[in-house]
């Protein structure tokens, strides 16, 4: 299995607080992604990265920011969490090449009260 670790696995927090989710990989892959998964919506891309300090927005990026200062770490930050950001968050990585599948972390269940 691809070496991807998400932390924390579960988090409960209050509206208005900042939250940071971490994704750590040991595969030295160039591409890293953050998704949220909600019932009826499947997986929606929040942000992705194609190298250190190179990031771009996905389809649901409002209210989220990311940073990638090292190849192995990709951080997702909710600056001021809202209840609509309650979701399961997945990190994924992929190697170079269009045929490379994404490998996923185990997900973080985030609840914002």
């Amino acid at each position: 299995d691809a070496g991807i670790t998400q932390s924390p696995r579960h988090k409960v927090t209050e509206t208005g607080t900042p939250v940071t989710l971490r994704c750590h990989q040991t595969e030295n892959h160039r591409y890293m992604y953050w998704y949220r998964q909600d019932p009826g919506h499947g997986l929606r891309l929040i942000h992705y990265s194609y190298g250190v300090k190179d990031t771009d927005k996905g389809e649901v990026s409002d209210g989220y920011s990311v940073s990638r200062s090292k190849t192995e770490d990709f951080l997702l930050t909710l600056e001021s969490a809202t209840s609509s950001q309650t979701s399961v968050y997945f990190c994924a990585i992929s190697g170079d090449g269009l045929n490379q599948p994404q490998h996923f972390g185990d997900g973080t269940r985030l609840s914002i009260l």
Partner: protein, 114 residues
């Protein structure tokens, strides 16, 4: 814009029978890959099968095979000899050249009946 559509929110199949999950996609790119992922209750995302757009031959992985109809932009997944362990959410996805973004469908929940 790319889209991936899974029109069956839920499907059921009797154990040992065959079931087909539908997926249609839309992309203007000529070079792309299609994937099926399985998500069991454990929440893990597991790659089931992949298909290159340039290959006419349908991909097969053991009991899993695809029916790739490029002109119709259809990419269905066939599961033969269904097992209880096949019960999961199944997602279709498409990746295209240029962006390295993957677009996912909304998923089909498969129930396997004993």
């Amino acid at each position: 814009a790319q889209t991936v559509t899974q029109s069956q929110p839920e499907m059921s199949v009797q154990e040992a029978e065959t079931v087909t999950l539908s997926c249609t996609y839309d992309t203007s790119e000529s070079d792309y890959y299609l994937f099926w992922y399985k998500q069991p209750p454990s929440r893990q995302m597991i790659l089931v099968i992949r298909q290159e757009a340039y290959k006419q031959q349908n991909a097969t992985e053991n009991r899993f095979s695809v029916n790739f109809q490029k002109a119709a932009k259809s990419f269905s997944l066939k599961i033969s000899d269904s097992q209880l362990g096949d019960a999961a959410m199944y997602f279709c996805a498409c990746s295209t050249s240029g962006t390295y973004k993957y677009i996912f469908g909304t998923g089909t929940r498969l129930k396997v009946l004993a």
